[in-house]
């Protein structure tokens, strides 16, 4: 972000007129809005995926009524939460009660400051990035315990206390695992950590030594515990505490807790990706320059006769499907049903969707034709900027999927088991890994 501000000030007179502080404020605003929107979108999508996965693991279908495949369900849910009455218990501590959800939300959104989206896409590449992440994660504890206390409800308080005990305990193995990453990369900056893993998949910290693999396991388990997900969700154990710390919350205040929970899933996955899965590096391509070279090659290829061929290949199934689908829409007025009641009637929405996909592919490819001479440059840019973002996102989604998957697989741990896992297993193993990794680096590094 600092670079961007400098550049804007240098290049554009408009920004020079606003001055450095104004430009910085503007850039901050834009970044904040962009990241908060990303946060909302990703949180919403994760709730959708979770419900879908919940359905599938129960042999149900999951939400499939709002929008195509139920994808817009989370918007409906969010709207419902916004419109719900906001109830504050009479005996609650009103100011704390109102403030707590925002503190929880803050803990999540602040983390997005150092989460990279691509080689240059990051709000601020702090040189203490990982440390900052660990620090902002603790906001959540304050928020949860505040919510538990202010609700003036025994279940809430118990949930808040449990979450405090749990999160503070699990921060130790979490930090130990990340310390190992810092040891390997020699930097705490998120981008620095990713750059230290350049050069293909075997350089990713996950695979580079047995100790770092163990460290990933420790990180993953303790991260799941830190965001209060099953199997470590005793703060909101519904069979014991009804709903834990958020029992008295309703409407958008509850929505804030909910959004924070799902935003946290992405944050945790993004940190795991950064620290162990090579961040935005693609599995096979090592350096950014390689990406650029591949992009230029693809652009040169497409600038040839390939585009025309691809357009035709994409357009043919599109036309066929559109024809098939249209048959289902010829309506028999008298009998009030489609004239051709084949199984295409049942499939027509899917067919139309497929036709739409192919049509947009064809259109996208057709757009290449007038840009022929610039294609190598354009594809270089796409490969350098877009592919790393997609790679990062895909990896983060994969890890989020495992977190969701755990939720629908594992039973909840008892409190003493939970503490046992942390203090008797994760922490000692974490220390062993740290020392082992040091030795490993001395021997092979």
């Amino acid at each position: 972000m600092e670079n961007l501000v400098d550049e804007l000030l240098r290049e554009f007179w408009l920004f020079q007129r606003i001055g450095s502080i104004g430009t910085a404020a503007l850039v901050m605003l834009v970044c904040g809005v962009a990241v908060l929107n990303f946060f909302g979108l990703i949180g919403g999508l994760l709730t959708f995926f979770e419900r879908k996965l919940a359905g599938w693991t129960n042999s149900r279908r999951g939400p499939n009524r709002v929008g195509p495949y139920g994808l817009v369900q989370f918007v409906a849910d969010g709207l419902k939460l916004v419109l719900k009455e906001d109830i504050i218990p009479a005996a609650a501590d009103r100011s704390y009660f109102k403030f707590a959800p925002y503190l929880v939300l803050l803990g999540t959104t602040l983390s997005f400051v150092v989460i990279p989206f691509g080689p240059t896409l990051i709000i601020s590449d702090l040189n203490v990035g990982v440390f900052y992440l660990l620090a902002t994660g603790s906001f959540t504890v304050v928020g949860l315990i505040m919510a538990g206390w202010a609700s003036n409800n025994k279940w809430s308080l118990l949930g808040g206390m449990r979450s405090a005990a749990q999160i503070i305990s699990y921060e130790i193995p979490n930090a130990l695992a990340i310390l190992l990453v810092v040891l390997m990369s020699g930097t705490m900056s998120m981008q620095g950590i990713i750059r230290a893993q350049a050069g293909g998949m075997h350089h990713w910290f996950l695979f580079s030594s047995p100790f770092s693999f163990l460290a990933f396991c420790i990180y993953f388990i303790s991260a799941v515990a830190e965001i209060n997900r099953i199997p470590f969700d005793i703060p909101e154990a519904e069979s014991e505490l009804v709903a834990g710390y958020n029992i008295e919350y309703s409407g958008m205040r509850f929505g804030a807790f909910f959004a924070a929970e799902f935003g946290n899933i992405y944050v945790v996955s993004a940190v795991a990706v950064t620290c162990f899965f090579g961040g935005w590096q693609l599995p096979m391509l090592g350096e950014t320059e390689d990406l650029g070279r591949v992009g230029a090659a693809v652009g040169r290829f497409l600038a040839g006769p390939a585009v025309l061929m691809l357009v035709m290949i994409a357009a043919a199934p599109c036309a066929f499907l559109a024809w098939k689908a249209s048959r289902a829409f010829i309506w028999d007025m008298r009998r009030k049903r489609p004239l051709f009641p084949s199984r295409f009637v049942r499939l027509n929405s899917e067919l139309l969707f497929l036709a739409f996909v192919f049509a947009s592919m064809a259109l996208f490819l057709a757009l290449h034709l007038p840009l022929r001479s610039r294609l190598p440059v354009i594809y270089t840019l796409i490969f350098v900027y877009l592919l790393p973002f997609l790679a990062f996102f895909a990896k983060a989604m994969l890890i989020s999927f495992v977190i969701l998957w755990w939720r629908w697989t594992l039973p909840r741990l008892r409190v003493d088991q939970l503490m046992g896992v942390c203090w008797r297993y994760l922490i000692p193993i974490g220390f062993v890994c740290l020392v082992g990794q040091g030795v490993w680096l001395c021997l092979f590094g």
């Binding site: 996965l53 359905g55 599938w56 042999s59 279908r61 697989t409 594992l410 297993y425």
Partner: protein, 209 residues
């Protein structure tokens, strides 16, 4: 070398937790991605095998015409369950007018007073003919006493369950209406007049005697 019990148990614990978690995850993965879904997506899945043909239901198949387009049931269910409504399902009460002898047994059997029956005497018919048959579905608790007691099976259970409506009054259903009712009443009036005339004649005869 003998490994101390505690240490052995420690590592065994780790091993067991990892393997059991893996087994569990495999099971949920299998269920989630390779098993048939059981959901019966009711309004779009057919649960009646075509909308009910029970002609005995009052005028509309569905009590609330608002739902009619939704109940098209275009998709066939492909899961492992049986989506059909059971044959002996106690749905809304149906009524077969030609069979009814207006004996009032159902009206008297009903513990709530759901049914209102009124019959009239008509010439050339041995039993009474019904002119009013009203069922208030809003009150009905589907106990089946009326169905059991009916000697001619004129009142019976259908499989129709789609009774939802926005207005409670829609649930009061009159089964005999319009033309039939008017005709019956006319016939009954004639029969009554004739009977009165007969009686009068008899009385006259009596007086003359």
């Amino acid at each position: 070398m003998k490994v101390p019990e505690g240490i052995r148990k420690y590592f065994q614990n780790i091993y067991e937790s990892v393997t059991t978690i893996a087994v569990g995850m495999w099971i949920t993965f299998k269920t989630a991605f390779f098993e048939r879904k059981v959901t019966i997506q009711y309004p779009s899945h057919d649960v009646m095998e075509g909308r009910p043909k029970e002609a005995a239901l009052p005028s509309h198949t569905s009590l609330n015409p608002t739902f009619e387009p939704l109940l098209g049931a275009s998709q066939k269910y492909r899961g492992p369950l049986n989506p059909r409504v059971a044959d002996r399902y106690r749905g809304l009460l149906g009524y077969d007018e030609p069979k009814c002898i207006s004996c009032l047994l159902c009206e008297q059997a009903c513990p709530i007073g759901v049914i209102t029956v009124k019959g009239v005497k008509i010439e050339g018919r041995k039993t009474k003919a019904p002119v009013t048959f009203i069922i208030d579905y809003a009150k009905c608790m589907f106990c089946g006493l009326c169905v059991e007691v009916c000697p001619t099976d004129a009142i019976f259970f259908t499989r129709q369950f789609e009774g939802a409506t926005y207005d409670c009054r829609n649930l009061i259903r009159e089964f005999i209406g319009g033309e039939l009712r008017r005709e019956r009443l006319k016939l009954a009036e004639e029969a009554r007049k004739k009977a009165a005339e007969d009686r009068k004649e008899k009385e006259d005869e009596g007086r003359s005697l």
